[in-house]
Amino acid sequence: MSPAYTPPNPNKRRNVMIAALVAVAVVVAAILIVVSSGDNKDQSAAPASNAPLRGLSETKAMLEGIPQEGNALGEQNAPITMIEYADYQCPFCRDYALETMPVLINDYVRSGKLRMEFETLTFVGPDSETAARAGAAAGQQNLEWNFSHLFYFNQGEERSGYVTDAFIDKLYEGAGVDAAKANAYRKTPAAAVPIAQASENAQKYGVASTPSFVIGPTGGPYTKLEVEISNADAFKAAFDALLK
């Protein structure tokens, strides 16, 4: 008997292809996962406690000569005021503070046209409140803006527990804050008052994310500003409209 020709079983071949498809999909998904979990470990790792503070000269240059009062930056009688709602741990707030805000301060706050206020929300986690209290304590010495800008320059990974006493002490030192006084103040109930107020005001303006901004003539009424945080020109257009 000559062997009969048996055609390859199409179902068997198809099952092999399906198994191969599943395997390929698993590999591709695994690659995606590895890529996405490793992409920003370097820049967002908590700063080592002995690492030098970043942003000292930038912070000094941005704020030098501009009056501060508590959480406010700029002339008291500036015609318009912009209030920022921010969380110290929020990376978008850092992006705004480091990329867009210096331009606005230079062009509008320095010339006395704009006053900025910084209000802190604490939705990201417990470190946000620690940082906000520390900022309020710096504000008691009219150095909150120096503190917050240095904070953003040295921001670590969200919820990684990097906002330690040592981290705050280092920022205080860089910002020129009297650390002994500030450390005593930030643990008192008074340091939590601005946080509660910010949260209340945020609700009033419908602020649900950070950073958010409200602007208006100094003293109010303020309205929510809807702009892309990286777009300095959009901020400027809103200021100019109010200054007209």
Partner: protein, 145 residues
């Protein structure tokens, strides 16, 4: 018959996915906040898993859904079944990973992200089912009947 029904279900799911991912991509680039009742959207969208080397996952999702829709519309027969199932499976696995991070690492829920994960789960089920019940080109003939 079943093949055709599953095909229609996959088409529908891909369009729903495009709507969700399109919305999230839009709010990402417009810098506005997604409408969110779970309260966790801003937390999730500002977390380190919200982008891959600067590309927001919302945009990755949108591209994925467009590829799935494209495979369903542009390809025919078994090539269509295999391509849509492979793409859906990758999307399902990756969105499963993201949902895991939401629940256990970020500990916040973004309902849009969960909705997208649910759509991808259904898409993976529908496209794989379709692949398994059809036996290649032969199914085409019965479809027509």
């Amino acid at each position: 018959m079943l093949d055709r029904r599953l095909y229609r279900a996959a088409l529908f799911l891909a369009v729903v996915g495009i709507a969700i991912a399109g919305y999230l991509t839009y709010v990402h680039y417009a810098g506005i906040q997604p409408t969110c009742t779970s309260g966790g959207c801003e937390v999730v969208q500002s977390s380190e898993w919200a982008d891959v080397y600067g590309v927001p996952v919302a945009l990755l999702g949108l591209i994925g859904y467009l590829l799935i829709l494209g495979s369903l519309l542009a390809l025919r027969g078994d090539a269509q079944r295999f391509a849509s199932a492979a793409l859906s499976l990758v999307g399902f696995l990756y969105s499963g990973y993201l949902t895991y991070q939401e629940l256990f690492t970020i500990k916040a829920i973004c309902q849009w992200c969960v909705a997208s994960a649910a759509v991808l789960t259904l898409l993976a089920i529908v496209t794989l089912w379709r692949l398994l019940v059809s036996s290649g080109g032969a199914a085409e003939a019965t479809d027509a009947g």
